[in-house]
Amino acid sequence: MGVLSFFASMLARDVLLAWRQRGDVLLGLMFFMLVATLFPLAVGPEPNGLLRIGPGVLWVAALLANLLALPRLFHGDWIDGSLEQLLLAPYPPSMMVAAKFAAHWLVTSLPLALAAPLLAIQYGLPPEQCLMLVASLLLGTPIITALGGIGAALTLGLRQGEVLLALLVLPLLAPVLIFGSGAVSAVAAGQSGMAELSLLAAMACASVFFAPWLAAKALRLAIE
């Protein structure tokens, strides 16, 4: 089996595993919607205010929902011992990790990005901002998966691992949040928002390239 077909079969395996537990995916979506629902309750339902805070609130909610799903990335495979077997497999561990990242992104982040316009409409965002929200989420969430994946590998099996993961990863993800919500706000201000999208794309390329390798190194430590 070549490296590429190994990647494909790993991806298919993880997506299938997630499909068998569809409820977990729905929980992330529900969390996303709940956080977004809390803001109008807290700051008031005045349409102009919601329109102004909408891009930021939706991006923070998406970030938190993604963060919530991250501990799941390696945990199941680690518990039943298959992670150890996968690391011993005669394929580059970074390729295995990259496949897991891709599957995680497909299962967790893609549904969030696709559900986001629904909430954006509830916040009164016009169509072009909704579109930009989806675009920025599609480009930004791979970075969350990649950097968060390193954090998930570093905290695998630790006490308070989930809280620690948030502390490690959230400061690193500040740029993603800034450029992601910035892209939507730029559209609201009548600009194209392409500068922010380009920066997100550049960060996505860099993190997707380096993160699987670093996460694989961290995973080796966790199973030793």
Partner: protein
């Protein structure tokens, strides 16, 4: 060919062994502390007594003598931490990971001091303790990065894993710090421009002198504190070895 360094038995990695580094660090600490104290006394004397009152900011600007050195150290220590982490990952030297872990609390302390002195300065100058300005926000995030590093290394029980996980995190962080800095800078900025740059300084030279003395003092203090902490870490790690048990007897 005669190689003098081999004759004397000295080579670069000699002090990479904790047992030889421990007494060396112990000898250096009192000197470093004395140096830090002397530099701080002279720096504060020039800064508080000799340097003139600022034309725009009155005497309030004098907190700069704490604020700027701690801000510099907070940023610099992270880079040093990452440097030791790279050394650890490449050469697997135990001491370098311990150095990174010993540096982190001082780095966090410097970041916190920078934030606090900044707030004390901001209140009279801008009329507010805190603004969501680029430099303030990125320093706050740097503070959290230090806390994350400390929390990660403290919560892993296996020393080898703690060392390597910490090293990995410090390296990921050092690539992200500039990204964070520029993203936040681009997002919002109000802070005054840098007073000292490669093109020269916009400050009176006496103020600059005081600030440099204080920075050197902060530098010496940080090195001394790091060495103190690394000695404790060495004792913890090497508690089972003969040289530690003889030392403790």
């Amino acid at each position: 060919m005669d190689t003098p360094k081999n004759k004397s038995g000295w080579h670069l990695f000699h002090y990479a062994a904790p047992s030889t580094f421990y007494p060396l660090a112990g000898k250096a600490i009192p000197w470093l502390m004395a140096l830090a104290l002397a530099l701080a006394v002279i720096g504060l004397w020039i800064g508080m007594g000799v340097a003139p009152t600022d034309a725009q900011q009155g005497d309030g600007y004098r907190i700069i003598y704490l604020h700027v050195p701690t801000s510099w150290m907070a940023m610099f220590i992270y880079i040093v931490m990452a440097f030791w982490s790279v050394i650890h990952l490449v050469w697997k030297t135990r001491l370098s990971a311990l150095m990174a872990q010993a540096l982190a609390p001082t780095g966090a302390w410097m970041a916190l001091m920078s934030l606090i002195t900044g707030a004390l300065w901001g209140k009279p100058m801008w009329g507010t303790w805190w603004v969501w300005d680029a430099r303030l926000t990125s320093m706050l995030l740097l503070f959290f990065l230090y806390l994350g590093f400390i929390a990660l290394t403290r919560s892993i029980d296996d020393p080898d894993r703690a060392d390597q996980a910490g090293s990995l995190l410090a390296i990921v962080g050092v690539f992200n710090v500039p990204v964070i800095y520029f993203s936040v800078y681009w997002w919002n900025t109000l802070h005054q421009g840098a007073s000292v740059s490669s093109r020269g300084s916009s400050m009176a030279s006496i103020m600059l002198l005081a600030m440099l003395l204080m920075s050197l003092a902060a530098w010496m203090y940080s090195i001394a504190m790091t060495l103190k902490r690394v000695r404790v870490l060495i004792l913890q790690r090497e508690a089972g070895t003969r040289w530690v048990q003889e030392l403790m007897r």
